[in-house]
């Protein structure tokens, strides 16, 4: 335990990477071991809480099927997220660009966001059927709000000195936006995207719970009905993997395109 802070202080690139990856892996291993131990010590029934090896067995046994369902859910998630990014950022731009629009749209947004999304899920099935569409819409609904809010906040947080600076060159509104306001907002936009991506997976699963014939959420519902708990756990683990991969993907993207952001906030 004491070795960890020391390696961090030495902080060479390789050791830091080892720490970044190693620590979460250690935590995961410990957690799984505890889980295993608990199922043995308390001799918990498999259909209540399966042991890790049951889950792995379930995964290996139906890996083709599970990966297919993972792909379905991943696709819904990414599509819904992408739509939310495009629509969300444009909405935020119009909010930040015009007081009038802000006054018109903001309360509406808040009201829509206050509606519990689960309540909408069955209606979406009625409207859009069992295909991927209601899932994409649900993902969109969950992602949209955090993206709008943080983008709008970012766009409105341009420091006065930067605005004055470009004004002193008599820059057009477009130039101010492209050269200063938008890039300045990007770290804040990323905050919104990261919040949204975690919600995105949840959105897909909610929609799949309500009405679907494919996807990991569908697998969980089905295995619940047949008391195949190990399979449900395998599906949940895959959902976790999707979330983590997407989140860290965004993180990596941020590091590449916004190397300046970390030092300035």
């Amino acid at each position: 335990m004491t070795a960890v802070p020391r390696t961090r202080r030495i902080g060479s690139r390789a050791t830091r990477r080892l720490v970044d990856w190693g620590l979460p892996v250690i935590a995961l291993v410990v957690l799984v071991a505890l889980w295993w131990l608990a199922t043995i010590v308390f001799s918990i029934e498999q259909f209540l809480v399966p042991a890790p090896d049951d889950v792995i067995e379930a995964f290996i046994g139906q890996s083709g099927f599970l990966l297919e369902q993972t792909w379905v859910t991943l696709l819904e998630t990414v599509q819904g997220f992408a739509v939310a990014v495009v629509v969300g950022i444009s909405t935020a731009m119009s909010i930040a660009g015009s007081r009038l629009l802000e006054k018109m749209i903001y309360p509406l947004l808040l009201a829509v966001n206050a509606v519990p999304k689960i309540a909408i899920a069955p209606i979406l099935v009625v409207w859009l059927g069992f295909g991927p569409f209601p899932k994409i819409v649900m993902v969109f609904l969950l992602c949209f709000f955090p993206i709008v809010i943080s983008t709008a906040t970012g766009l409105k947080s341009t420091p006065a000195e930067l605005t004055e600076l470009v004004r002193s060159y008599d820059a057009s509104r477009l130039q101010v936006f492209v050269k200063v306001r938008f890039p300045y907002a990007l770290p804040q936009v990323m905050v919104g995207l990261k919040t949204a991506i975690s919600l995105a997976v949840i959105g897909a699963v909610i929609a799949e719970f309500v009405g679907a014939d494919a996807g990991l959420g569908f697998v969980i519902v089905q295995s619940g009905a047949s008391a195949d708990t190990p399979l449900a756990f395998a599906a949940m683990a895959l959902l976790g993997v999707i979330s983590i991969v997407l989140f860290y993907g965004l993180n990596a993207l941020e590091k590449v395109i916004l190397p300046w952001a970390e030092e300035n906030r």
């Binding site: 600076l165 008599d170 050269k179 916004l258």
Partner: protein, 258 residues
């Protein structure tokens, strides 16, 4: 070059009106460097912003090169107290920002940018991001940016006041060197009496609330000037003392009915 005629300005603040400037008449000659001193809140920044075309006076007229100032002009550039560099742009790209916005000749200005960076001792730092520079280096980059458009007029609002004393003196000396290389009309706001005397051809002293022009002092000390030991120490001391007296509030004497 710059002419303010009976300029007054009133801000409509939240707690009533703020009379920021009152009947200022001042002419800054071509290639002259006027330093503007005065206590905090006496309207120095307001005055500069009017010359820059960022703010319209409530009354009176401001002209630059004989033309009334309506909007910001290309040949007038502004340097702020904070470096105001864009954090995602390299030093070089920051210096070239005005070139992009004003749509100037890129290739020529690129060469000029390298020259300017060299001149202020930033050669080799072109590709760095602002957060990788010290405060003094950032302010140097900011100076290069305000010079890239080859302005006729340079307005500087306490440009060095966030820096330590030595860096500040270095930059003052660099500014004098730049002025020898290229003629420019400069209005320089400062809180430092030393800086005011070191740089100025004339010092304009403002008095606060409302901002009025209190006095203009000619600084007839030969250049280049330095803050250290020099042959004109007496004259420097004299001017500094005078400024000091003007800036320090007079002992509370009853002003009578007025």
């Amino acid at each position: 070059m710059i002419k303010l005629t009976h300029v007054s300005h009133v801000f409509a603040g939240r707690q009533g009106e703020v009379h920021a400037l009152d009947d200022i008449t001042l002419e800054v000659r071509r290639n002259e460097l006027v330093t503007l001193v005065g206590r905090s809140g006496c309207g120095k920044s307001t005055m500069l912003r009017m010359v820059a075309g960022l703010l319209r006076p409530s009354s009176g007229t401001v002209t630059v090169a004989g033309e009334p100032v309506g909007k910001p002009r290309q040949d007038v550039s502004f340097m702020f107290q904070r470096a105001a560099l864009l954090p995602w742009r390299t030093v070089l790209d920051n210096v070239l920002l005005p070139v992009e916005i004003l749509r100037l000749d890129r290739a020529a200005k690129r060469r000029r940018a390298h020259e300017l960076l060299e001149l202020v001792g930033l050669a080799g730092f072109e590709k760095r991001l602002p957060h990788e520079l010290s405060g003094g280096m950032q302010q140097r980059a900011s100076l290069c940016r305000s010079l890239i458009q080859d302005p006729l007029v340079l307005l500087m609002d306490e440009p060095f006041s966030a820096l330590d004393a030595l860096t500040r003196e270095e930059l003052s000396i660099e500014l004098q060197r730049i002025r020898m290389e290229r003629e420019m009309t400069i209005v320089f706001v400062t809180h430092s009496i030393e800086e005011a005397v070191l740089l100025a051809d004339r010092v304009a002293v403002l008095s606060p609330r409302p901002g009025r022009l209190r006095k203009i002092i000619d600084v007839d000390i030969p250049r280049p000037r330095t803050l250290g030991r020099n042959a004109y120490a007496d004259r420097v001391a004299e001017v500094s003392a005078e400024l000091h007296e003007l800036l320090m509030p007079a002992p509370m004497a009853p002003e009578g009915a007025g």
